[in-house]
Symmetry: C2
Subunit: 226 residues, 2 copies
DNA sequence: ACATATTTTTAGACAAGTCTAAAAATATTT
DNA sequence: AAATATTTTTAGACTTGTCTAAAAATATGT
């Protein structure tokens, strides 16, 4: 069992941001990248990173970038778990739209109580994914990896179930919702225009629709194999 | 509609504390009283009270004490509303015991989202009271006053329904729960010892029990009139 | 390899909120 | 009404987290 200190709102946000960057690529994580995720300045990141390093939450070498320690990663994943469970609560129980849950969950994820989050998990029926299709880490910190692929990777004649999104912005999510492109829908790729790359899909074997390449590059599907 | 600034965690706590003191008595609210509720020092209270005064949340005259403005009172009541709704959620939906909900609700009450709190209210079925029997302010800020009386005020032969508590400490609440003295139970006063003031009550027409004067002075009941 | 551009860090300042210790005001006692 | 006790405020310092502007280090172009 790791020592259960209490980390601040800000510390948790830095750890979450660094974790996110670490998952996204194997490149060294530099100050500017963190600053852009956190919406702050590089100088502030340097200060904070030094403090986190002293607390053994990450390894930091001047001018070389940072890397989370086991402990830092555990806190980050814990915060992601809380975020995604709260998002699920807001969507499933309080009927918030999937584009409205993120900002409120950003606040809720910093409530400190292991018991609370475990009881919330149970109340929600131990959900495996949040409203955007992202996997919810277990209380042991294990994240079940998705094997979703981009809708843009499907060939003509192939089908998939909408299972997640790459772009999480409210404007994109609202756009999908308006076009009936929500989690669980079945999509069959019928045609890809050689001229403008528009993709003609059949939604749930009923409705035909044209999707822009911007859209198909941001939808994740579980490929159906007949 | 009042101007919807964002108040800090700390500001909300000060306003809540002052509101609580204002409800408890009509005496001027002095720095030390606030310090003791907030668990801080009088000097810190002076500093904060000046800032709140500049923000028009309260009226402050040096050495004379403070008084909430309309706006300050509105924020305070709003915070109480959030606190009690979250307590209700934790108890009713997540099955926390009534002595466990306070500390978590102290954190949750500072989440900023009117939409969240209104949807939570709806999800809970617009509850009128929290798990300790305290009334939940409406979204308009109106608090329905209870007409509960102390169990110690009942005469021999009179009966009441347990409807609230005066002492909110976890140790007292745990004690009540262990003795089956929870909200909704019917109590009939059968005997009051002239010697040691122990009160013999009949719980739900079944179980007889002796209650200390410390206990009967901290239970609120709705008097039953036959 | 040298000059230039970019990134990162340092230095010093600021805001919120807290503290201790001392000074000022108020309250109480005689 | 003077002396004492209590309460409240001020002054200056500290912490967390942020910022700007300048300095130092690293990366890039030719």
């Amino acid at each position: 069992m790791y020592f259960c200190f209490m980390y601040s709102f800000t510390e948790e946000n830095y750890l979450k941001a660094i974790y996110k960057l670490q998952e996204q690529s194997n490149l060294a994580i530099n100050t500017n990248a963190i600053a852009s995720v956190i919406q702050t300045k590089a100088a502030s990141v340097t200060d904070m990173v030094k403090k986190l390093s002293e607390k053994k939450l990450l390894k930091y070498e001047k001018y070389k970038g940072v890397e989370l320690t086991q402990l830092g990663k555990k806190i980050a994943i814990d915060t992601v778990r809380k975020h995604r469970l709260w998002e699920t609560f807001l969507h499933k129980k309080l009927n918030f739209a999937w584009d409205e849950v993120h900002d409120i969950a950003e606040q809720l994820e910093h409530i400190h109580s292991h018991e609370l989050i475990d009881k919330l998990d149970e109340f929600l029926g131990f959900p495996s994914h949040d409203p955007h299709g992202d996997p919810i880490p277990g209380r042991n910190g294990v994240i079940q990896q998705n094997n979703f692929i981009l809708l843009s990777e499907l060939m003509i004649g192939e089908a998939g179930i909408i299972s997640g999104v790459v772009n999480h912005s409210a404007i994109f999510l609202k756009h999908l919702e308006k076009n009936d492109l929500v989690l669980g829908k079945k999509l069959l790729v019928q045609e890809i225009s050689a001229f403008d790359q528009l993709v003609k899909v059949l939604i749930d074997d009923k409705l035909q629709q044209q999707l822009s390449s911007e859209v198909v590059r941001n939808i994740l599907v579980k490929k159906l194999t007949e």
